[in-house]
Symmetry: C2
Subunit: 193 residues, 2 copies
Amino acid sequence: MTTSRALGDRRVRRTQKALQRALIELVEERDLSRLSVADVAERAGVSRSTFYDHYRDVHELAEAACTVMIDELIGSVPGPGTDATRDAPGKLLAFFTTLAEHAGLYRALLGPSGSARVIDHIRRRATAAGHAGARQAAGESAPDGDPHDVPAAFAAGALVGVAADWLERGCPRTPAEMADLTWPLFVALYRPL
Amino acid sequence: MTTSRALGDRRVRRTQKALQRALIELVEERDLSRLSVADVAERAGVSRSTFYDHYRDVHELAEAACTVMIDELIGSVPGPGTDATRDAPGKLLAFFTTLAEHAGLYRALLGPSGSARVIDHIRRRATAAGHAGARQAAGESAPDGDPHDVPAAFAAGALVGVAADWLERGCPRTPAEMADLTWPLFVALYRPL
DNA sequence: AAACGTAACCTACATATGGAGGAAAACCTA
DNA sequence: TAGGTTTTCCTCCATATGTAGGTTACGTTT
């Protein structure tokens, strides 16, 4: 049992990376719900008890495993201002491209036998990013602590919804087509009545 | 072990209802991830093996337990045509009101320790409903088999996103306020450029 | 009311979970 | 390189999961 969780230690980084890689590999092979901790640990070349030294369950590992990718992904969320929406089409294209590159992984994580933990993580990040974009566009600099921003939550949910739907159907369109279809919907949100 | 699954039998309905009630009760008390099958079965006054006669796991039960509520809820999804959007404000109000009535349940199911199964179910239903509404509004009667409708997926995800965000924050606004804030966003989606 | 069908229950079992304590190995610092 | 520190691993253990077979009790049907 450990208390300090020193990230500087080479062993920790090595172990966590191995577990994250193993999970990503396995999730592309079989259903998340059919993955045991023992499976992941074995694939990572790590003991089962070491797994529990780092993560409470498979979902927590899954969240950690795609946090980096998700943060890149979330750079693509269009915010509700001119500033943020300026280069948004390119960002949306990047979003769907990245998604397509890891289609198996994200389909497994966002689908019915996926992880509510991961879904919530993505939605939350996207909401925060959308809100930050809006604040920036409105010229507000006050760092208000994550208030209730309905349009941001709306856009974030929409992004997740479009992604999950597209992945579930086996990516029937190219990332470019998806970006072209989705972009006007985001634009419409931020157009005055 | 049974094979025919006769729904006409009084015992089946009784058992399933008891399990669904028990799950709803328990999910309001503690986290879904902390619920064991034994807990649910005991609360329902049913043996653990009977649980497995009806559901494969807790998530499948959760999905079944709120299917009826969800179907009522989904009646509130605005579709992209004039027909569907006509009475949509009232439907949105109903949506948020119902959500608030079962806030504990839905917060638990849609949040980070919730059920991807339930989330996916809701999103799927809402997408299908949105698509049906759009088809109806466009005067199309051909029963095409659930094609890729990006705006419908967008709106469905947005609805889930707004709901999850609102519930996670402890419902900081009234259902009426939420309906008023959300309604123009849906309208914007279906307004021509 | 009797007979049939099936749901509910019980027992048993192999596996998975989650955690505790302690020994060994690897790391960082001096 | 010697020191102490922290991680990893091993072994247990109590509980939970998921499945199977057989028995009892209930509901439906005639």
